[in-house]
Amino acid sequence: MQFSVENVGKLERKLTVKFPAERLESQVSARIAEMARTVRLKGFRPGKVPTTVIQQRFGAQVRGEALSDLIGNTLREAFEQEKLRPVANPAIDTTGQPENGEISYTATFEVMPELPEVDVAALEIERPVAEVTDADIEKMIETLRQQRRSFDPVERASAEGDFVMFEYAAQVGDYRFPAEGLERAGSVLGSGTLFKALDEVLSGRKAGEEFEAEIAFPEDFRNDQLAGKTAQCRFTIVKVQEPKLPEIDADFAKLFGIADGDLEAFRKEVRANLERELKAALLARLKSEVAEKLAEAHAGVEVPNLMVQSEAQNLAAGSVPRGQQPPPQLIEAAQPVARKRVIAGLLMGEIARKQELTLDRKRLAEQLAAIASTYEEPEKVIELYNGDPQLMSGLQNRVMEDQVAEWVAEHAKTTVHNLGFDEVMRPVGA
């Protein structure tokens, strides 16, 4: 076998490989002999099929298989000898026909860039730190109460925070909505579910009241005919309900899976949940910070176009509904971000290799347990992960990245940045 490497671009390589045609022929005939023993054909007893018939029937297919096998093998040999690291599957171009007793093919591919020495110590990393305080827990519990509030009908006039159910009909010129009768709707006053003008009109009304008012509908109202217009509206208040927040007591705690309704246990549970979320959020922030800084420090690194392309594709795919093809301009727009990400990913991998960071089994198990605990049947989720190599390797990657990010944070010029719980939980860039 002979081969020669040609540098096409900075990272692109063209490999021309030649190997003797006998290698292919001997493989093909070996396979046909093998098939003659096993194949079942109508009209022949098993094992009695003549090779000529097999040649006629399966010759082309067998030849193609043998050829691609040989190409794969020789390519691997060539890569090993040349110490090439291709990024993706190479594009193969061959006639498959022997010339002067030799079969030749060319493989075009991109190689991994030579990564520069990463000087971690020079990086300036801002490490966010935060803690769950009692105030945060109280706030969380308050939110939970808001979510679980109930409404009771009252006789008094409606005020802010009350739920008002009403029927209305709007008239603009000749257009009446609804065309006949009344449309029923409901709103919590002051919550912003409906627009402000309506909230104002509806407050201070009792159940059963009927009245007329002029309402200016906002521009973005969902009914086109009414949007941006002032309409004469007739209202009938159906009922007024007052919100009632549940007491923080045993029954409330039971709603959240604390069987014996112990409030201390409930608080602990809330704290554990918050802490878990906070930890994840902090790590995510640190990770993106490290990635950002790494990419900034090595913005000039040459990265394979193919990787950037596929990353951009992924990014763009994330912003359109699942299963749809993202439009090309979206992919185009995602390119710079994708490039940064690829650089950061490669550098992180490089750091892990240089520092001989290995995957922390315990951490992996912890992460898995954390993911599983948010599902209803944790054991099943863990089983699923253990049974699916693709899921598992995704998780391993994530844990590995976490480890690298932490290692970098430890070894770089790190400034600790104290943040409140809310600040951390707010999405980055918002």
Binding site: L41, G43, F44, V49, T52, Q56
Partner: protein, 97 residues
């Protein structure tokens, strides 16, 4: 002979161990229409495969008698044609035409 009759003569190649062995001796086996004559087969093979036919032998194969729920029934029979080609000529039976 009409074109339609030629096209209707040959039904399928008959593939078996025997036919594979005979193919080495330049003899090919076809299932042909029940009413086909040796002359029909000769012209059909010569026109369709563009070869020279030396000899045609015809065989009627009776269908097996099979009984189902104690009722006797007959399978369909077939008419086979053994076609010997002139020296040096071949037919690619496996080719999809």
């Amino acid at each position: 002979m009409s074109n339609e009759r030629i096209l209707n003569t040959l039904r399928a190649p008959h593939i078996s161990e025997k036919s594979a062995r005979l193919a080495e001796g330049n003899q090919y086996v076809f299932v042909v229409a029940p009413a086909a004559t040796k002359a029909d087969v000769r012209t059909a093979v010569e026109q369709m495969f563009d070869v020279k036919v030396e000899q045609v032998n015809l065989v009627n194969v009776k269908g097996k008698t099979k009984s189902f729920r104690f009722r006797a029934g007959n399978r369909q029979g077939k008419r086979k044609a053994y076609v010997r080609l002139a020296e040096g000529q071949t037919i690619d039976v496996a080719a999809k035409a």
